[in-house]
């Protein structure tokens, strides 16, 4: 596992790939653990890895929340077409990434920050090269201004109204 990210207040311009916050979503078929990747150099990025049983498990919200958490770039690694053990998981992942790319454009984040690569099973060198390429791409892009307070948390799915709020004539607010 890579190091956890922490907000760097006032640090709007990044210098050096090692300071970049890169989140990598990968399926277990591309590689097992991020530590296996040859990314130990001083100038190499130190990504946060999110391991998934299949790249199709990458949900739109995961990608967006990675950016909310401060990621400068997000990488999705999928199996080559025709090689997904679940047949079409990588195809779904690609469509989802395209959709989020369009959404990021609507949001107005500067530059291209979301990337998808096909990685053959176990090809850790290719995975590392892809991550380095992303680091080069996002270096110099401005970071999001830091949050003034904590990131708001989602409310649980089922919220129950406490007794007495819903009166016989409806809620009067």
């Amino acid at each position: 596992m890579g190091p956890t990210h922490s907000a760097a207040k006032g640090d709007h311009m990044k210098e050096g790939a090692s300071k970049l916050k890169i989140t990598v979503f990968h399926c277990i078929n591309t590689f097992g653990e991020g530590d296996l990747l040859p990314l130990g150099g001083e100038e190499d990025p130190a990504p946060k890895f999110v391991k998934l049983p299949c790249s199709s498990m990458v949900k739109d919200v995961f990608l967006l929340r990675a950016f909310e958490a401060g990621a400068d770039g997000v990488v999705v690694l999928v199996c080559p077409e025709g090689r997904c053990r679940y047949v079409e998981g990588n195809l779904r992942a690609k469509k989802r990434v395209r959709r989020v790319e369009a959404l990021l454009e609507e949001i107005g984040l500067e530059g291209r920050r979301l990337f998808l690569f096909e990685i053959a099973s176990g090809d850790t060198a290719a995975a590392a090269a892809a991550i380095r390429a992303v680091a080069d791409q996002v270096t110099g892009l401005a970071s999001l201004p830091p949050l003034g307070s904590r990131v708001p948390e989602a409310v649980p799915f089922t919220a129950r109204a406490p007794d007495g709020i819903w009166g016989p004539k409806g809620l009067s607010l």
Binding site: V61, E68, L103, E106, L144, P145, A154, A159, I165, G170
Partner: protein, 222 residues
């Protein structure tokens, strides 16, 4: 199901911009099925709004909640505490749900996050098609289960116009000719003779053309 499409982010952002605390309320029924306003869509939109405002150096407090349906009190009341602590509610339900919320929470602005479009079906994964206009006087039995009021561009009731080409409507090549489909279906059912029966002009009084409708079931009213 009712099919809806989420509004563009820019339009939603403009609606919520005056408010500091927004409840993003999803619906777990129709709009969830068509990927417009379910729990997943609430999460994505909330994140997109926060990112978009943060890019401008602003912070928006978005609370996320999804209830089973926004058209029934039983589920609407579950949202009451969250509504009570919000300045506005951005509802991702269909127009019926938005209005139901607005009637029950009079002091809180309820904003529509989706454009409600039609009553339809999931034809195949990712494709939703309009099937029913809610005319109030269903004659599907005459047409092999295919509605010419909804699916024929000219709303013809007594056979095709003759302008179709390769089974596609002359109004739009992306639209199947409803009468082509009706005839194929009646052939399969062995009911082609039913086409000889004259179907009189539709009485639209049972439809929205006569104004908003009500259904009262006295056996359920206490």
């Amino acid at each position: 199901m009712i099919v809806a499409e989420q509004k563009p982010l820019a339009e939603i952002k403009e609606m919520v911009a005056p408010y500091g605390k927004v409840l993003l309320l999803g619906c777990g029924t129709c709009v969830k099925t068509c990927f417009a306003g379910g729990e997943d869509e609430v999460a994505v939109l909330a994140s997109a709004l926060r990112l978009s405002f943060r890019r401008e150096g602003k912070e928006i407090n978005v609370e996320e909640l999804t209830v089973e349906r926004q058209c029934e009190d039983e589920f609407i009341q579950e949202s009451a505490p969250a509504v009570a602590r919000s300045e506005t509610v951005l509802s991702l339900a269909c127009g019926a749900g938005v209005q139901a919320l607005a009637r029950r929470f009079r002091a809180v602005p309820i904003l529509p996050g989706v454009n409600t479009t039609f009553m339809g079906v999931l034809e195949r994964p990712g494709l939703f098609t309009e099937e029913c206009s809610g005319c109030g006087d269903c004659k599907l039995a005459l047409f092999g289960g295919i509605c010419p009021f909804t699916r024929c561009a000219k709303k013809l009731l007594n056979g095709p116009c003759g302008g179709s080409r390769n089974g596609q409507c002359e109004v739009s090549p992306d639209t199947e000719c409803a009468w082509h489909l009706i005839i194929e279906r009646l052939q399969a059912l062995g009911q082609m003779e039913s086409l000889r029966a004259y179907v009189p002009p539709k009485n639209w009084r049972a439809s929205l053309s006569s104004g908003p409708r009500k259904l009262i079931r006295e056996d359920h009213v206490l």
